[in-house]
């Protein structure tokens, strides 16, 4: 496992940058192939990956190395191949378990408020721009013990609640 971050996400960003800057769009394998790679990687980061995606990525990268016209395209495909070899487990984790162990792939993570730690101060609910946190501010002796919780469907993982929680009750899972 690489230490710098999620390999899938890094590769995706690399290819997006490649498509934007370096790619000349003259030879079909590089032009169509790298766009395909971007598609597949995007799906993987959204936990929509399928098992055959690994085969597609491997096949596409090795074939681009064989067929692309210039070094730029071949280098890009090499980048993917290296990433596949060194961090295969990460890719598989994304596809099979729908989990990103670096907690970077937004759609693979959830915010969770630990009820044991939550003091119901209402700080997180106040900053949440999406109104994704549910709970009632604690009024001593008057209210019940109803810890706050996150509505996953609404949460955009913007991270603002994390910074305001004084007791560190919010976790990424």
């Amino acid at each position: 496992m690489s230490s710098e971050g999620c390999s899938v996400l890094i590769t995706l960003e690399f290819f997006k940058g490649f498509a934007k800057d370096k790619m000349c769009g003259k030879c079909l394998p590089c032009m169509l192939g790298t766009t395909r790679i971007i598609d597949v990687l995007e799906r993987i980061t959204k936990s929509e990956g399928e098992e055959r995606d690994m085969v597609v990525l491997e096949k596409t990268s090795s074939n681009i190395i064989d067929t692309a016209r210039c070094k730029l395209g071949k280098d890009a495909a090499n980048f993917l191949q290296d990433s596949l070899t060194s961090s295969r487990d990460e890719y598989e984790e994304h596809i099979k378990d729908g989990h990103c162990s670096h907690n970077s792939c937004e759609l693979l993570i959830n915010y969770w408020i630990d009820p044991e730690k939550c003091v119901m101060c209402d700080a997180c609910k106040k900053v949440c721009p999406e109104d994704a946190i549910v709970g009632e501010k604690l009024v001593p002796y008057l209210s019940d013990n109803n810890p706050y919780y996150v509505r996953d469907k609404k949460c955009t993982k913007c991270g603002q609640c994390l910074t305001v929680c004084e007791v560190g009750a919010i976790e990424i899972v």
């Binding site: 498509a19 790619m23 769009g25 003259k26 030879c27 079909l28 394998p29 032009m31 169509l32 192939g33 790298t34 766009t35 395909r36 598609d39 597609v56 096949k59 596409t60 074939n63 064989d66 067929t67 692309a68 016209r69």
Partner: protein
């Protein structure tokens, strides 16, 4: 010749010349390497990567369309590694190709389909993507479905080299698309609709609109014939399904065809065609049977002949018929009726002045279009090559792209003039001054072939007459400074392989003589001029004797009469024939009967209102045509004619090549040659031919087509420059130039009856103003204007375009009424009217105001 090298391809040894691409070498060895972006007619781009092969010793796979062979190279084109790479690229392309082969017209001829099948691809392993582009069906000819586009770039390449250079790739990556500037429809982007892109597209992204859902390629019956529009005479291959024309294309994908040649054929199947003979009864043309019409026509003509003599009958034939028909026609008139009153549209399109040019320089002087591509200096005189003679235009473009220099003399700012090194925007009608000025500058600047010129006759006289010519006068008449002419003369004179291209119908006979002089002065007598001819069989019509002054083979009446009397077995008339103008003048008095085949003098001939008047004063008029033309409407008997697409025979194109015309569909009416022979038989002169081949045989024995005029001695022709065309005066201060347009053609009878007219703005009914004149006359684009000449007036609409200089206006030659304006005055020697330059006055508003 370059050195031969030996390479081994798939274990097979081949000897090829050095510098050959691997893909070409493989083809020579009989091995077809799959390819999509590569096309023989285009420079390789190496973008599709389908043609990858393994070369022993080379790193990785090699694109065979960009790598040249080396001695001893060992190439394998079909290893598993290669197939895997190809499969990958094809799968990628297929995943982006959201079409259904079931309903695609290219099914069976699609290169993507073919290679996918060969490589055993059942389904792409990538997920399918549908780009979701809208199919562009906005123009009448080319349907563009970019959902099927595989981005091979062939169309982009061919549009650059022989089209209008308007398409290129836009955007990038998966959303790359081929588009015009700002992704506008083709008709709004300056597309010439040459359709070259259609011919090279390997898939179904670009298709002929007419062809959709009318038959697949394997159902098509293909017939090779020759185009019957302009005098280029390009080879065409018609695809026929169920007896209907489905598409037209060149012999190979890189063969250029223009919009007319590729798309202008629906007139052949137009329901307005005359299929049954018509006889005028009580002033109304009514359908009759073929026998009845022929009998009636023959009897009436015989009556006229009996009562007033053979010379009271005349004949006129269009220059778009086959040699066989033209020959029969004049034989019928000369031997059958007994008159030399024969003329053809050739007289309006540069003949017989051109005969003098051919004789002055010899036939070897006419350059072929392939040779134009290799010249280093071109002089274009009044030849809008990309519009009027598009195949010549492409040859010129190709020459320019390999570094040739170009001098253009033309009043109009034509597309080709934008590529000129020196563009001489002459005043209309001042060509003779400009060319005389050029001659003088060639002589004074000592950029001519002195040794050769001295051997030519009248060189001293020429020197003397040019010595008298004042450059100030040239400057005054043409509006061009002598420095420009000096530069042009230097550029042209220093050229090693030079050619002068000019429009035969747009220059005056004196201009042609000056062109001959320039060729002689620079010592260029072989492959040095190209007179561009407007009609498909102009030369053939003239060489078949369809001009009053010549028998077949351009033999003078007096000299050759005995020979022809012997072969045809009849006494031939001694009296010289009349030209069309003389016949028109004599109509009603000395000329009482006319037989007109495949021509519409009322539209084609200048001063058309008087032509119509003359024709109606005839006792009897037989017209034989494909459509009910203005002339046919005046006829007493209309016989159905056929188009060149239904005829068998030969034509002679502007390069003097005899080309074979074949019927691509069953003739809709009786063939022209059968009609002429039937009429002749009824008039007691039997011409017993059983087929066109037999006529061709007789022609060959008599005329020796093509007979070459060879010369070994040359002589200059002394020319006093004059302003050609009608001179403007106070009452008619402007000059109107009649010329060709991209989607119109000559008299417009064919283009108007085909879908081409939909691309011609206002169906050719307009006059082009330049913005300066428009402002001073307070004319806006599209507003109604009246053009008046000494003969008559025409109301039409204005179109503002800076094409001509101030004081000059342009009218398309396919405009129905241009004939009303033009002058029909003829010179006494050549008897052909200079009708393309007309003095006019112009006012705003309709004719009634």
């Amino acid at each position: 010749m370059s050195e031969q090298v030996t390479v081994t391809i798939n274990g097979k040894e081949v000897k090829v010349s050095e510098g050959t691409l691997i893909i070409q070498a493989a083809k020579m060895a009989g091995i077809d390497i799959p390819h999509l972006c590569y096309c023989e007619c285009l420079p390789s781009t190496g973008s599709c990567r389908v043609c990858l092969v393994e070369v022993e010793g080379a790193k990785g796979l090699v694109a065979s369309c960009t790598r040249k062979v080396k001695n001893g190279m060992v190439i394998n084109t079909n290893t598993e590694k290669v197939r895997e790479a190809r499969r990958f690229v094809l799968e990628l392309i297929l995943s982006n190709h959201s079409g259904d082969c079931m309903s695609c017209d290219k099914n069976g001829a699609c290169e993507l389909q073919k290679y996918a099948y060969e490589l055993g691809i059942e389904k792409t392993s990538f997920s399918m993507k549908d780009p979701g582009y809208e199919i562009d069906k906005s123009n009448p000819f080319i349907e563009r479905n970019y959902n099927l586009c595989i981005l091979c770039g062939r169309c982009v390449g061919i549009c650059k080299t022989q089209g209008a250079d308007i398409i290129d790739f836009i955007k990038r990556g998966m959303i790359t698309k081929v588009a015009t500037p700002l992704d506008k429809p083709l008709q709004e982007s300056g597309c010439d609709f040459c359709g070259s892109c259609l011919a090279v597209c390997p898939v179904g992204a670009l298709l002929e609109v007419d062809r959709r859902f009318r038959g697949r390629e394997w159902e098509m019956e293909e017939t090779k014939t020759v185009c019957s529009y302009c005098g280029c005479g390009c080879d065409l291959v018609f695809g026929i399904v169920d007896g209907q024309i489905m598409r037209t294309t060149g012999e190979s994908p890189g063969d250029f065809l223009c919009a007319k040649g590729r798309f202008g054929w629906d007139f052949v199947e137009n329901p307005k065609r005359i299929i049954k003979p018509l006889i005028k009864k009580d002033g109304i043309l009514t359908e009759s049977t073929y026998e009845e019409a022929i009998k009636f026509a023959a009897e009436r003509l015989l009556d006229i002949k009996k009562a007033h003599g053979a010379n009271s009958i005349g004949g006129f034939i269009g220059a778009g018929n086959t040699n066989e028909v033209a020959y029969l026609f004049q034989k019928f008139l000369r031997a059958g009726i007994g008159t030399n009153n024969i003329d053809s549209s050739a007289r309006l399109l540069g003949f017989p002045a051109l005969i003098d040019l051919y004789e002055a320089l010899g036939d070897g002087a006419v350059v072929s279009m392939e040779d134009i591509e290799e010249v280093d200096t071109l002089l274009l005189v009044n030849a809008d090559v990309t519009v009027a003679y598009p195949r010549v235009g492409v040859a010129v473009k190709r020459a320019l792209s390999s570094g040739a220099k170009l001098v253009v003399v033309d009043a109009g700012r034509t597309k080709i003039s934008e590529k000129a090194d020196i563009y001489i925007q002459s005043k209309a009608g001042s060509d003779e001054f400009i060319l005389s000025g050029l001659l003088k500058e060639l002589l004074d600047g000592k950029v001519y072939d002195e040794e050769f010129a001295k051997k030519c006759g009248k060189f001293e006289d020429l020197k003397k007459s040019l010595g008298k010519l004042k450059m100030e006068m040239v400057e005054k008449e043409s509006g061009i400074s002598k420095d420009v002419l000096k530069r042009a003369a230097k550029l042209y004179g220093e050229g090693k392989k030079t050619v002068i291209v000019f429009g035969a119908e747009t220059v005056s006979p004196q201009t042609m003589e000056l062109i001959a002089n320039i060729s002689l002065l620079t010592g260029k007598t072989r492959a040095s001029v190209l007179p561009c001819l407007l009609s498909s069989n102009l030369r053939g019509t003239v060489y078949m004797g369809a001009l009053a002054e010549f028998y077949p083979g351009v033999r003078k009446i007096d000299e050759a009469r005995n020979d022809f009397e012997k072969t045809w077995g009849v006494k031939l008339p001694k009296k010289a024939g009349l030209s069309i103008k003389e016949m028109l003048d004599g109509m009603g008095s000395s000329i009482l009967g006319m037989y007109i085949v495949g021509a519409d003098p009322v539209t084609q001939f200048p001063n058309s209102s008087s032509v119509a008047k003359s024709l109606s004063s005839l006792d009897f008029l037989v017209a034989q045509d494909t459509f009910l033309t203005e002339t046919a409407k005046l006829a007493d008997v209309v016989l159905p004619g056929i188009t060149l697409a239904e005829s068998n025979g030969t034509i002679v194109n502007m390069e003097y090549r005899t080309k074979e015309v074949r019927a691509v569909i069953e003739p809709l009416a009786e063939t022209d040659w059968k009609t002429v022979t039937a009429l002749s038989k009824r008039m007691n002169y039997t011409m017993g031919y059983s087929s066109e081949k037999e006529i061709a045989k007789e022609i060959k024995s008599l005329v020796f087509v093509p007979k070459k005029i060879e010369r070994d001695t040359y002589s200059f022709i002394l020319v006093e420059p004059k302003v050609s065309g009608e001179e403007p005066d106070k009452k008619y201060p402007y000059t109107l130039i009649v010329g060709e347009t991209t989607f119109g053609f000559y008299d417009g009878i064919r283009t108007k009856n085909s879908k081409l007219s939909r691309l011609e703005p206002n169906a050719g009914d307009y006059v082009i103003f330049n913005s300066e004149d428009a402002t001073s006359l307070k004319i806006e684009d599209g507003c109604e204007v009246t053009v008046k000449s000494r003969r008559g007036k025409v109301t039409t609409s204005a179109k503002i375009l800076d094409f001509l200089p101030k004081g000059m206006f342009f009218m398309p030659s396919c405009h129905d009424k241009r004939g009303i304006l033009a002058s029909d005055s003829i010179d006494s020697k050549l008897k052909s009217p200079q009708h393309r330059l007309i003095a006019v006055s112009i006012s705003k508003g309709g004719a009634n105001k």
